[in-house]
């Protein structure tokens, strides 16, 4: 039994490792923040990048004619960095996409622009308010509700 068992395990985990390595070769993306990308030189290329950023309110353009085109800028979701990078996306604007929203983008970065292949909006009110801390959030928004 033990020999069969060992051979099987080696086969499986050997095979599994090969599978993982193969899948990783073509499918990993480096993770950046918008300010990190903005700080890179113009010539910086990454074929596969993942960026988490906040949608800036300015320069947001969504066209559906002749083809669907969404372009906008993102900045760091947290912190004070003001650097922005431009994003181009040629698919449907995802649900809940709005200025101030945090988005996860997969795509290629070249010529200072992120060409997105996948764009996902983070689902904001599911677990925490978008503002940093709860106790700060409550009175501030309360006032805006009244006015």
């Amino acid at each position: 039994m033990s020999r069969v068992f060992i051979v099987l395990i080696i086969l499986f985990f050997g095979g599994g490792t090969i599978l993982v390595v193969q899948a990783m070769k073509t499918n990993t993306a480096r993770v950046f923040t918008p300010s990190e990308l903005a700080a890179k030189a113009e010539s910086f290329h990454v074929p596969r990048a993942r960026v988490v950023g906040m949608v800036a309110p300015e320069k947001l353009i969504y066209e559906t004619e002749p083809t669907i085109k969404l372009s906008f800028q993102i900045r760091d979701p947290e912190g004070t960095a003001e650097e922005r990078i431009a994003v181009h996306y040629d698919k449907l604007m995802p649900d809940m996409f709005a200025p101030g929203r945090s988005v996860i983008i997969d795509g290629a970065f070249r010529d200072g622009t992120l060409y997105a292949t996948h764009l996902m909006t983070q689902c904001p009110s599911k677990y925490e308010p978008p503002t940093p801390t709860k106790t700060d959030a409550a009175p501030a928004s309360t006032e805006s509700n009244i006015s």
Binding site: M24, L92, T121, K126, Y127, A138
Partner: protein, 678 residues
Amino acid sequence: MNNFGNFSLALAWIAALIGILSGIAGGSDAVRNRFAPQISHRFTKLSLRSLQLVTITTTLSLLALGYGFFTADFSNQYIWQFSNRDMPSIYRVSAIWGGMDGSMLLWCFFHAAGAGILSLSHRHFPEKIAPWMLSWLHFSLFFFLTLVFLLTNPFRSIQSPFIPPDGNGLNPLLQNPYMAIHPPMLYLGFTTLAIPYAFCMGALVAKETGYEWIRITRRWTLTAWTFLTLGICLGGYWAYIELGWGGFWAWDPVENASLMPWLTATAFLHSVMVQERKEMLKTWNIWLIVLSYLLTVFGTFLTRSGIVQSVHAFASTDIGEVFLIYMGIVFASCLVLTISRREILRSPRKIQSIFSKETAFLMNNLIFLSILFGTFWGVMFPVFSEALTGEKQAVGIPFFNAINVPLFLIMLFLMGVGPLISWRETSLKSLRRSFLFPMIFGLICGLAVLWAGVESFSAVTSYSLTMFVLGTLITESYRAARTQRNSAASQSTREVITKTWKKHQRRGAGFLVHLGVLIATIGITASMAHKTEREFALGPQEHVDIGRYRLELAQVTTRNTSNYESLYAHVRVLERKDETPVTDLFPELRFYKKNSETTTEVALRKGLREDLYIVLAGLNGDRTKATFKVYINPLQGWLWLGVAIMAFGSLLLIGGTNRISASGAHERTQPEKAGVHP
């Protein structure tokens, strides 16, 4: 009500603490030897009663929060944040788990409710295991109650000098019936897994891993498995009808977190049969159960600690470390226990042949674990890569598909082999006899699919293997029926079928689950491999042809409600060839005023053959044309149908007999003395 809820929570917390201690006292030999056995029983009884107290108080606490939502009590921070006055009642209920604090309380509630239901059958508990089991269960409850009470308390008052007149409201995406159902269903599955886990740990401490243990663990794992299966599927269904990207599964960390315990639980449900029959793989099974439980805790940790980026924005909170410590304790305890109990876990038998059911089950388990590790690796890759190389990297959907599709195909093959191969050893001759028909059946179907023009290798393999497995199910059922028919003369066909079913009920229910898997597999394969995706702009009365449909835009209107403004399109769906009307669909694009969010309302025509899925993307610049995105997903409905059959089969297994069909394996093991004595 806030104080009442908080008070109930505190009471539950204390009761859980008492339950841990009295459970230990009830099980410990020191108490038994020093005092009378009656004292031990009293302690066990005390632990049982505190378990019921935890159930009651946790329920009250949840009711208090629900009451707060219904009475719009905005003095409560949590209620203010996740509801407002114009919300319909059903979403007031679902808002309870709309945020982290409430979802953790709901978790506690299900955990405690499961424990309460379990406590009703205390007379059937194996006597030695009971106190330790109770103690471990209390420990798990204690951990979650501590979290809720101290770190994510939903009864906090609002930090404001006055009570706000209206609340913040719930995210519109969450205002969907399936969003209201699927998290509770998943939580039910997660928390139910704590029961077999507690039995496992209790049995290890008490050094009892006999048949009673298997019977109870198996039944509760099946229950948890059913909830998990339904919960995962409802989550996918929600994503499908609500998110508007035409798919149902995106390998998001949150989805993976629910899949991982499902994988280990499924593996356990298979390998426990080897233990039932052959008393092998005891340690392995214990680890599978403990791992399933740990993965549910890990899932909660993953989705709430913010260590990986997910579509669901879980803010980084400080509860991560607490989770890690707890998981460490559970893991270490199980490690110490399995090592110190290795004598009773040792198997009297060994696997004799590679062509045996034992090996097939073992391979099945290894595949499930490989899928688990692949998924785990993908989820945790950003963390690992940053720790190892300092450069953060991530993997996306293609990675998970690249790994899991081939593994799943191997699993399909094993699904055909497992039920037909015999225990211990199978001769080549009987292998040939069993598999000749299914193999040919699968091959013919594979060729037919190829001939029909399917090019994707994995799709062809998937169809072919599905048919192979179907062939084995048919062969095996036919064989059982034939044996029944030959056993007595002059039976009607109906008699033969009912008698065969009665005799092999458990096996038959298992087959039903497998049949569900096959149907779901066909649905997944077809909707992935043959999806049609088109994007176009239409003016009024213009049309476009897609698949067998002609889509004609009747008109686009705007609507204005108190909650949102929307674009509302009327699309006529006609048959392409003769222009007979099929249906009218109304995709919508909503703009919520309050938080300036845009959401799409998908228009969907469901059918067994295919789903027609229309999303309205928007108007063009001069507002003369509307842009649509259309998906045609063939056989999509089969996925939901298949999962429903899986759940039904699983219910039959839970309700059915525990005997393994025909020979009955464990009569030789004496049932242990059972019951917590009053």
